[in-house]
Symmetry: C2
Subunit: 507 residues, 2 copies
């Protein structure tokens, strides 16, 4: 739900009607855009199948290779050659609709083509804000960013917004999972950094949600991101993650990271062909492990600056790659993830424009999940608190569009148009009076005052206003209500596992 409207004196007007728009269950109102023709989509798909059959994927993980081999693949050393029959069988069993459970019914999300799900920026080693500056991410930053994620309905899943670099790697997963469960009731994330860490995560979630083992495995309660190593490699932790999550009925979001000209061909069609091949291989593994296991298709494809090798985002190529990936996602019918984001170094007009341009690529591509949709900057090296807020404004406005445009006779307002004289105005018309309190979206950070008023108030720009907003949100933050026994049990688990030495990441 959107925030309650505040009257002119800042109080919530008790009797004023409340504008209520659902920001949680978003169904895309946008048409999908085709960048290439249907027969070229077929050609890309065929090329990907040919790559898998003839050129193969390097799979470092023994058990994964065994799964592929038992499924009919040809294996030679660590190269796996997957036939199209296996791919088609996997695409036939992979579910088209995945409901991932949160900590409360209204936090459950459904992943399927046609839905829109937003995640803020993720995977950033640094955090930055206008108060404290740029710094390596800490657990405190992660806690705050999870609280901010919790505070906005238009963010639907919790990602690893920032790496808690001040917590040792053997304990970080414990700390970050604990925060996700206690500071948010939204769908939580687990890293795939080896089975021991994943099992810790599963256990924490299972117990905190009050589930039996069977109940946990019967439905999705969390997710992971699987990046293949482009080109054409699935490494140990990624294969282990695909296996562990599939075994336990939890979704992997398969995401080849294919930057054009770097780890992928320099063309959109080439990069997406490679990405598609790798994604199909990863999806197939999940279905070999557990036919019917939930899995999302995905890509993270953009271009680089060919002079410096620096990744670029929010470019025409990023947009086009998203569109082509969307066409392939619709061909195979699976929910899928795409990404927004910016390469800018500060939350300025470049950052805003690149991120929004990338977002529209995802929306018109029909992406189910748009990751990095708020806050992501420096090509993912930092997450900006201020940009999270200014990006959220755009996401909220997209959610408003999802609510649709009514055009009843009452909306057409023929009577009002008749009643207001030429060159009159509608401010006082009954039609207006009946509606004005709830008619329009009220901005989160946008300031519509005139130049004089704005100057008198200090001439404050959007990012600076955003600082005030995230601070206020954190100051007012109330964690979701939690069963105190489960809270204690969680704390005790973390303490015990910490004393035991946690679990080192595996690679």
């Amino acid at each position: 739900m959107t925030e309650q409207r505040r009257g002119r004196r800042g109080r919530v007007a008790a009797s004023a009607p409340q504008r209520q728009v659902d920001y949680r269950n978003l169904r895309s109102p946008f048409p999908t855009m085709n960048a290439i023709s249907e027969d070229r989509v077929e050609a890309l798909h065929e090329a990907a199948l040919t790559i898998l059959e003839e050129t193969g994927i390097k799979v470092l993980h023994d058990e994964a290779r065994t799964f592929y081999e038992k499924g009919g693949a040809r294996v030679s050393d660590d190269m796996v050659f997957i036939g199209r029959d296996m791919i088609e069988a996997a695409l036939a069993t992979a579910p088209r609709s995945i409901t991932v459970k949160g900590g409360a019914p209204h936090r459950d999300i459904t992943l399927e083509l046609g839905r829109i799900v937003f995640q803020p920026g993720a995977g950033c080693p640094h955090a930055t804000d206008l108060d404290r500056g740029r710094r390596p991410g800490t657990l405190r930053d992660f806690r705050e960013l999870v609280q901010l994620t919790q505070s906005f309905d238009v963010l639907h899943m919790v990602p690893p917004l920032v790496e808690a670099q001040d917590v040792a790697m053997n304990l970080r997963h414990l700390a970050m999972t604990e925060i996700q469960l206690t500071q948010s009731d939204k769908v939580p994330f687990l890293y795939s950094r080896g089975t021991p860490q994943v099992m810790d995560g599963f256990e924490m979630i299972r117990d905190f949600r009050g589930l039996t083992d069977a109940e946990f495995r019967a439905q999705p309660w969390c997710y992971t991101i699987i990046n293949t190593n482009s080109p054409r490699t699935i490494d140990l932790p990624m294969a282990q993650g695909l296996i562990d999550f599939a075994r336990n009925g939890q979704p992997s979001i398969v995401t080849p990271f294919t930057l054009m000209g770097a780890m992928a061909p320099v063309t959109v069609a080439g990069a997406i062909t490679l990405s598609h091949a790798e994604a199909l291989a990863a999806i197939t593994l999940t279905q070999l492990v557990n036919p019917g296991a939930p899995v999302c298709y995905g890509t993270f494809t953009s271009n680089v600056d060919m002079k410096s090798g620096a990744p670029a985002f929010g470019t025409p190529e990023h947009f086009s790659a998203s569109l082509v990936a969307g066409q392939l996602a619709r061909k195979i019918g699976l929910p899928w993830r795409c990404a927004g984001g910016s390469a800018a170094n500060i939350a300025d007009a470049q950052a805003a424009n690149e991120s929004q341009f990338a977002l529209w690529g995802c929306l018109l591509a029909g992406a189910t999940i748009t990751i990095h949709s708020a806050g992501w900057i420096e090509g993912g090296l930092s997450i900006s608190y201020e940009k999270m807020i200014t990006d959220l404004e755009v996401l909220q406005m997209v959610a408003e569009l999802c609510a649709g445009t009514p055009a009843t006779e009452g909306d057409i307002a023929l009577d009002a148009i008749r009643d207001v004289a030429p060159m009159g105005h509608f401010f006082g018309a009954q039609h207006t009076m009946d509606r004005y309190q709830t008619q329009f979206y009220e901005p989160l950070v946008g300031d519509w005052s005139n130049f004089g008023t704005w100057t008198e108030r200090g001439g404050i720009d959007a990012s600076t206003r955003a600082t005030g907003i995230w601070k206020r949100k954190l100051a007012e933050f109330q964690p979701p209500a939690t069963d105190s026994d489960r809270l204690s049990a969680l704390e005790q688990f973390v303490a015990r596992r910490t004393a035991e030495g946690g679990a080192n990441p595996e690679s």
Copy 2:
């Protein structure tokens, strides 16, 4: 054309292949988005016809009322009641495709559904930049802004970017038209501020383009913007403009300015119904004056802040209104204009986000001309030089999307994918080497350097970099080649008319 690529040392690499993307002739690659169902589109159209028939339009202009009456309308005092037969007849004669001539063949533009034409911000009383601050617009500002408009292929028409407030009203049209003709070869604009000013403008354009009267009238060589006075009024200069331009075969871009809750109903459907009715009335007048006269449909519909009355742009309501207008434009089949823009007071993330959000509304609405697409700020009270540059980046990226995504076998790059080993890279692949110099869009103002490099270079944000860009563009500016006789003739015309006292605006 895009700018020539510069090699690492800043020189144009003489032998390097040049990236060439046509930014001039843009055909929309975007699907159109329907906000309401077809039968509700019909309902809005019907309601507009009913308003025109039964409630009427106030027409202050005697000759205009005569045209309507002779065409079959019922006239009572200054109220005109237009029957649907007249509207349908007008829509049947209004051309679906309008070619407006510039000063050179490559500057001609075609206005029809499916094309994309961009204009920068217009109608602003102030100009602002980070160097000189905010000030009432001057002729110097107008000259600079026209030069900037000329400097970017992705801006297709010249609008009245800023009012030259330091030139008296009886001479301003002469000065601003002279600048448009000498500093640019793009399609010029004339104000509709009374017949004498319009005739001055026609004469200047006719003679500068080297045309006879008949040649001038036979094709469009300029355009005007006609704002009806909502609700339900066409005032004197606007009616005179419709008549003068239609008589002379020059297009009016009909643009009701209908802010929801102010001069229009508070609902999207109501505001667009009113806008549609007024636009139909204005279009009908042009066809009564001269059946087949070029005319564009249009609207400028957004919402206001109901607490302050301040106009808002780049809102969900602005976006939705654009979509509905687009559905009506497609119903009647005419090229049409829509608008972008922002209510922000400074070129910050709000300004960027609002403008880009509004732009996407126009693109998905299938707008032919998107006005205010670069630089427009403070809800139109100022044009920002810096924002013009940062907005241009987005327009250029949209133009890149118009060029399409190739997916040939060469683009799919199967051989390259085969040749690069797992976990290798494509930087040195022949496929990459053959393409990298021209493969990607190079940003105008976007900076992709990493945080360290960016900090070393001064930590400069996008708007500050934009200052450097517009300054460089102005310093390097070369006006289009002009016939020196025509230049002298133009100067003499302006001098003579000035000595004669110019022409006062009429209202």
